[in-house]
């Protein structure tokens, strides 16, 4: 047993980690530039920053009373609602769909993936570098948009807002929102990357995922575990109840500790990425049928 472990360690040490790291960095840099600095990516900026733009209008044109704690607690609920219902369900979902589905399937459609596959780079390095690039772009966009939305929510309240953020629960809430954004980007990203490799057209499957995530709160608790949004719901610092018929049908599950929710989601991401690495080893391109 110990001998086997030693052999494995030796084999791992003999791998060209330096070369792989260099290749991954270069690939990531190319993809990040393509994701963030191209005209085609402009709609993702819209998805990410539209709540901040609306909050900016609110900050500039609406009257704020720094002593009015009632308004501030209202705005805290509104911000939680924006993260829970807009970012997780729509913004991050469609943003990640656009970013990650393009990484492999987009290259196939543009008939440029074979250049990567012909180069002396391990396919796993290619996949992980593309995933890292997509994750970096998505986290940068949605993370900064959440920071902007948070700042625009509390800045207009002046000293009361400052107190809430630095002497109250504000910073902890911001940390939680950022953690949710990061995990949402990684979770949805891993799922969409895999879907784009399995299906020639990943959109029907992605729409099924959207439908599954939408009806997830009304499903039995065991089924709620097979969902990205359900893990993220447990991390919300301020919970906003559903509205209308969904509020009646929502199945309240036992609260899950934050570490368990994060660990569960990270395991899901790791499993999906491991399977994606396995799939890309057998990936074949037939441009005539794609």
């Amino acid at each position: 047993m110990a001998a086997n472990a030693n052999t494995l360690t030796n084999r791992l040490k003999q791998q060209p980690w330096g070369l792989w790291w260099l290749q991954a960095r270069r690939l990531t840099r190319i993809e990040v530039r393509r994701n963030l600095l191209s005209w085609r990516a402009s709609w993702i900026y819209f998805l990410a920053f539209v709540p901040a733009a609306i909050l900016l209008i609110h900050a500039v044109f609406d009257r704020f009373d720094s002593r009015n704690r009632l308004d501030m607690s209202d705005d805290t609920m509104v911000l939680a609602g924006i993260v829970q219902f807009y970012y997780i369900r729509l913004g991050v979902f469609f943003g990640c769909l656009g970013i990650y589905a393009r990484l492999i399937r987009g290259e196939m459609v543009e008939r440029s993936l074979h250049y990567y596959l012909l180069s002396p780079v391990r396919r796993e390095i290619l996949l992980l570098a593309k995933f890292a690039a997509g994750s970096f772009s998505a986290i940068l966009l949605f993370g900064s948009s959440i920071i902007a939305a948070f700042a625009l929510t509390y800045l207009p309240y002046g000293t009361a807002g400052h107190d809430f953020v630095f002497n109250g629960p504000g910073l902890a809430q911001l940390e939680a929102y950022l953690a949710i954004a990061v995990l949402a980007c990684l979770g949805y990203g891993a799922v969409f990357l895999l879907l784009s490799m399995i299906f020639r057209n990943p959109m029907p499957a992605a729409m099924l995922v959207l439908g599954w995530e939408a009806i997830n709160p009304v499903l039995p608790s065991i089924l709620q575990k097979i969902s990205v949004a359900s893990y993220l719901r447990h991390l919300m610092p301020v919970s906003v109840p559903g509205d209308g018929i969904f509020a009646l049908l929502t199945v309240e599950t036992e609260p899950v500790p934050a570490w368990a929710a994060v660990f569960g989601l990270l395991v899901l991401i790791a499993v999906v990425l491991a399977y994606s690495c396995y799939r890309i080893r057998r990936l074949e391109i037939r441009y005539t049928t794609d």
């Binding site: 609306i54 609406d62 609602g81 924006i82 589905a101 020639r200 057209n201 029907p204």
Partner: protein
Amino acid sequence: MSVYKHDYRAYSGRITPAWARVGVLVRYGLAEAWSSKITIGLGLASMIPFIIFLIQIYLANNPATRLLVSRNNLRFLDVDAEYFLRALEAQCWFALPLMSWVAPRLITYDLADSALPILLSHPISRFGYVLGKFVAAFASLASVTVLPCLVLFVYQCYCAPPGWTMANLSIAFGIVAGTTIWITLLSMVGLAFSSWVKWRTLATGVIFAAVLVPAGVGGIVTAVLRTRWGMLLNLPFMMTQLWQRLLGVPEMVRTARDWSLPSAAILVMLIASCLVCAAMLNARIRGREVVRG
């Protein structure tokens, strides 16, 4: 290239009427749309709520069933305007995934394969081309929305006691008007966004996003700026309100805040959306080919 023969003359025989040329596009469009197994799957899936509602009508008009459940609440067996609203909503929401799948098949291939200049070199105008594609999309959606709802209405007329039909004729008009507005808008949105997205697979997601993301943005506007007018961006909310009014269903109080919108504002917004889609189509549907390099 030199042209040596100068004896070519324009065709002087009998030409087909303009509507027939559009009909060719419609025919090929419908064949293309329904050649996919996913389209057929979505069409069949949209029949599931229709069958459930059909069974409900049968049970509601069956004396034995009514006798069996008479001790309990009979409300769920009522076939009234609210029942038809539920049926209309179910069928109309099934039309969204169908449209997001069908519209890119109708238009994106022509654009991605640079086939538009060839098509428009035939005796058909840009308007005729868009009209042909629109009719194909509209007919596909009508088969899962207005037709099933009208079949339900006709079946209820057949099963119900005499006098029910005349007393509830406004429901049929509401169904036709409500579904026509919805599928017109959906067809325009589908064709417009498909024409702007070169990658067909992405177009399906973009059409979904074009309906759902503005709804989310409208929700944020409503919550942040404390105004109900943000709901004008929320297409599902607007359509539900419009359908309720067209069918004469009393508006349900869903939340503490009154977010109801005037019908005129809803109609103006829907017309504006259609005009924006028409402008998008006008910008993209042109007989030209861009060669980069």
